[in-house]
């Protein structure tokens, strides 16, 4: 007898078309032309001043195929030091060779670790800490465990654009077991990730594609309605309220204000149509949807819509069955989570997957090629001062485990692209253990990035205390450029 197998199901899409939705927003629509009158979008991004910094965080699950558990190194460059295009490109056996074109903009950081143990589920515990450097909750536990602190994307948004939450995106179908893990508003306050790029785009652009006259009319209506709603919200907030109710209504009140900042950035119409038509939940669309999310992120950053974004690639224990063009004849690979375990099982007991190490390596390469796509998109923009937009901020691809099989929290990869205004030591592969002598808790990496972004503590000093309060303060010296202007 064969065990029952799970079936892939397709979630039905909205019963009304999204074009109709757009028309609905406009009321007796007059077409969908470009909303250029209030747009800042274009090939030029906002001014290259200190307020242009941004940070984008991509997260792959299940660890990477690096050295460990008697498996060879297939991820990192063969030696720390200066990165060059030719040098990286020549290391074809290492996944990071996929980023050779951006060697001069890269800062690869090994030797980092998560400080706290998980609580019954390695994936969940890793996801909890990945962007928070916070403890893992005692309760709930297991696959339901939560981070006990805010994530770095939230901190950046809170500091740099408190009127708008960070862009929080997700590629793939969310499992009931362990879906999003990345972005936290605060302790145990996990932010949902949007896995449909069209939904995210609609939220970002609000009224894209309408006649200017119609848009202006809509804006006037919204202002009038918002005035009324604000008055009512104010009346509610003037009452005696519990702490929780006040917090919720305050969030609502600020959300109204937030939306009044209409977004005008827009993707090319062909891209919009592709985005509208895609099934974001199909594993076969994994890479396409990821690239669409990246289009959104690049656009959002270039327009100044957000300066903080995350993109989670797959579930907490990502079970996507990837199809990698040119690899194994384009066949569907086993579930990625099982590949990372090297067996046909999500546990520890099962028949081996032949070539699993190599498959994991290829999945790593695929993700780094996707990361390169994001860098390509960001590179299309220059700041108003004329420099590359990428140099104003940074994009990082990381993981919530170090090595897939062992589920270790040591040597979790953090690969940055972009110097944050010359503050990061780009063009180098560094090992954080070089000066510390041992693995370095990754809260120091966050301290370095936040400070490089120009964020400061209340007393004006550099941020050196991100993450759990028990962690040792400080920075990762290897990450800081020798001529960093702000550090």
């Amino acid at each position: 007898m064969t065990a029952p197998k799970k079936k892939k199901t397709k979630t039905p899409r909205s019963p009304f078309s999204r074009r109709l939705f757009l028309r609905g927003a406009g009321t007796v629509a007059l077409g969908l032309p470009f909303l250029e009158s209030i747009g800042r979008f274009g090939s030029k991004a906002k001014a290259a001043s200190g307020d242009e910094s941004f940070a984008i965080w991509l997260r792959q699950g299940n660890g990477v195929a690096q050295e460990g558990r008697d498996e060879p190194e297939r991820f990192w460059p063969s030696a720390t030091g200066r990165l060059t295009r030719d040098g990286l490109a020549g290391e074809t056996g290492r996944a990071t060779s996929e980023l050779a074109d951006y060697a001069e903009s890269l800062l690869m950081v090994s030797g980092l670790r998560f400080a706290f143990p998980g609580n019954g589920c390695g994936h969940s515990g890793g996801g909890n800490q990945c962007l928070t450097a916070a403890r893992v909750s005692e309760e709930p536990s297991g696959n339901e465990s939560l981070a006990m602190g805010e994530s770095v994307d939230n901190r950046v948004a809170r500091e740099l654009h408190p009127e708008r939450e960070p862009l929080t995106l997700f590629t793939g179908r969310k499992s009931g077991y362990l879906p999003e893990v990345m972005s936290y508003r605060g302790p145990m306050d996990l932010r949902a990730g949007e896995n449909d790029p069209w939904n995210a785009y609609m939220r970002m652009t609000g009224l894209t594609g309408m006649d200017v006259e119609v848009v202006n009319r809509i804006r006037q209506r919204r202002m009038s309605v918002n005035d009324l709603v604000r008055e009512q919200m104010g009346e509610l907030l003037s009452r005696d309220l519990s702490v929780d109710d006040r917090r919720r209504l305050d969030l609502h009140f600020s959300s109204i204000r937030d939306l009044e900042v209409l977004m005008s950035c827009r993707l090319p119409e062909m891209r919009e149509m592709e985005m509208e038509g895609i099934d974001p939940l199909s594993s076969g669309n994994y890479q396409v949807v990821t690239r669409m999310h990246m289009d959104l992120i690049a656009t959002a950053v270039a327009c100044g819509y957000v300066r903080s974004a995350t993109l989670q690639l797959g579930n907490g224990n990502d079970g996507t069955q990837h199809v990698i063009p040119g690899y194994r004849g384009g066949e569907e690979l086993p579930r990625f989570h099982q590949i990372s375990h090297r067996i046909y099982s999500d546990g520890s007991d099962g028949p081996p997957i032949e070539g699993a190490q190599e498959m994991h390596h290829e999945v790593d390469k695929m993700h780094l090629r996707l990361f390169r796509y994001l860098l390509d998109r960001l590179s299309e923009y220059t700041s108003e001062s004329g420099g590359p937009l990428l140099d104003c901020g940074t994009a990082c691809i990381t993981n919530d485990l170090g090595h897939g099989v062992s589920h270790t929290y040591r040597n979790v990869p953090f690969i940055f692209a972009g110097s944050l205004g010359g503050n990061l030591n780009v063009g180098n592969y560094v090992d954080a253990r070089a000066s510390a002598g041992d693995y370095v808790s990754h809260n120091k990496m966050f301290n370095t990035v936040l400070s490089a972004m120009g964020i400061r503590k209340e007393d004006g000093s550099l941020v050196d205390d991100f993450g759990d309060a028990s962690l040792e303060r400080g920075f990762v010296p290897e990450m800081i450029a020798s001529d960093a202007p702000d550090l």
């Binding site: 007898m1 065990a3 029952p4 197998k5 799970k6 079936k7 199901t9 899409r13 909205s14 019963p15 999204r18 939705f21 927003a25 406009g26 009321t27 007796v28 998980g118 019954g120 589920c121 390695g122 005692e138 709930p140 536990s141 297991g142 696959n143 339901e144 939450e165 009931g176 362990l178 996990l190 949902a192 949007e194 449909d196 609609m202 209506r221 919204r222 009038s224 309605v225 009324l228 709603v229 008055e231 009512q232 005696d240 519990s242 702490v243 929780d244 109710d245 919720r248 209504l249 969030l251 609502h252 600020s254 959300s255 109204i256 939306l259 989570h337 999500d346 546990g347 520890s348 007991d349």
Partner: protein, 564 residues
Amino acid sequence: MRATITTRTTLPAALALLLGACQGAIGEPTGRTDPSDPSDPSRPVDPCADGACDPEDAIPALGSAYPRLSHGQYENTIRDLFGLSETPGLTTGFEDDPSGTTAFDNDSTVLQVTPNLWQDYQSAAEVMASRVIEDAALLGRLTDGLPADEPDRTQAFVERFLGQAFRRPATDDEVRQFVDLAAMAPSHYPEVPEATGRVALVVQAALQSPHFLYRDEWGDPDGDGVVELTDYQLASRLAYTLWDSMPDAELLRAAEAGELTRGDGLRAQAARMLDDPKAEGKIRTFHRKLYDLSHYEDVELDGFPAGIGRTLRAEAERFVEDVVLENDGGVRELYTAPYSYVNADTAPLYGLDPADFGDELVRTELDPSQRAGLFTQPGFIASHDGDTAPIHRGIFLNLYVLCTELPPPPVFDPPTLEGTTRRERINSITGPGTCGGTCHGEAINPVGFPYETFDDFGRWRTEDNGQPIDAAAAFRFEEGTVGFDGPVELAGAIADSMNAHRCYAKNWLEYAFGRPVQLGDSPVLQSIATQSRDEGLSVKEILIQLVDSTLFRTRRVDAEEASE
């Protein structure tokens, strides 16, 4: 995130859970701790702690003064407010709400309006305003019977529409605000007749008003920090409890007449509303979510038609309808009824001849020595399959049927399963004398092993790997340790236990009231569970008793709210 452990659980996680050291008291009611501040001197204790317990001893629950509508409630409310034949689907693209601590999606303690959701609300309101303009029949319904001339027409429309949208009469200030807004129609909607633009503007604003998006349960607390809900607040709470939608005209009439705060008015309305199809939807949704019936759809069985999982889900849902809606049954029937709904596709799973069945699921009496209630149906069995199936099934029953508190799992390296039968393999690392013996020996395995009489498809079997099935076990219920041999005897033992009846009532309370259970709820739960076990209380009567309790009529404020 729901704390379910089913086949979605990875093997390490299942094994981790199965080796957890049991610190909770198995067999005791779940009784979540009260969410209030422990330092608050008004923090309640369990009124049933000393054993004696009367429903009147229930302590009003801490709760939000402004619980937000869930997405499902929003859909239903729009449907009923505009007299649509079906829900409009506006929330399909809405930002997901975070999961709370209940098994359901309406935990008011976590529902809030984020910037993304606010944008969703704004867009949805504009869609409905647009529909009012474009749909003459809809506009006609909204404006039917209004005075012909301004300003009386707008005044009357605003009063009537807000009275429905806000679930209470609008105040003079609110009416003035909306009338003033409507007067802007010529500039805001120049492309449509002014009268139409006025209606559209009011609709657009009303659907974004906090009085629409939240249920208003605010009030002045008495000296004990307790707010007695008003008639209109009770009407709203009752409608969303039983219908997940707004009050209808009859309920609003009863509220206006003050009937809900007098005598049996509330109970009478509840009984009326439970006979309405809108209540059926709520009851179906409850069972689908509690028993994770949607998960059955993931089942595929070799040799059976594609889509068998959907049929298994349909069987379970049809069974629930039969028991609860058509036969006024209760917990005992859900867990022990020796029949189900079978068609040609599923007949072989029951050892029946498919030639005797067609495509339609038909009620079929089953072998009462093999089948009893929901959890002997193939959908439950096959959706918890594989070598750790007894663990998955045992955990599910403990968490969602018996409400046993299971401790968090430890971090460990999963050992190797050894043995001939599945029971032996699991016992090799969780049985008596092993480090997992405490939790599994007493809680998880005993209610998982009886289902070993079924293969992973849910077919009856007598052997496992050539060895005879051992389906005997014992579980420590509140009433004492009860032995059973096989799934039918287990079903009977569960149906005889306070654990199961209190658990069922507790889950209904969380779903119906949209909040986690609190210690002060214990007297009401104890009373309902006792009647359910001893007198066979129907599901509908359980709901009536919930809404006819002190818990339903009151709200307790926290120290912060009381002191301001």
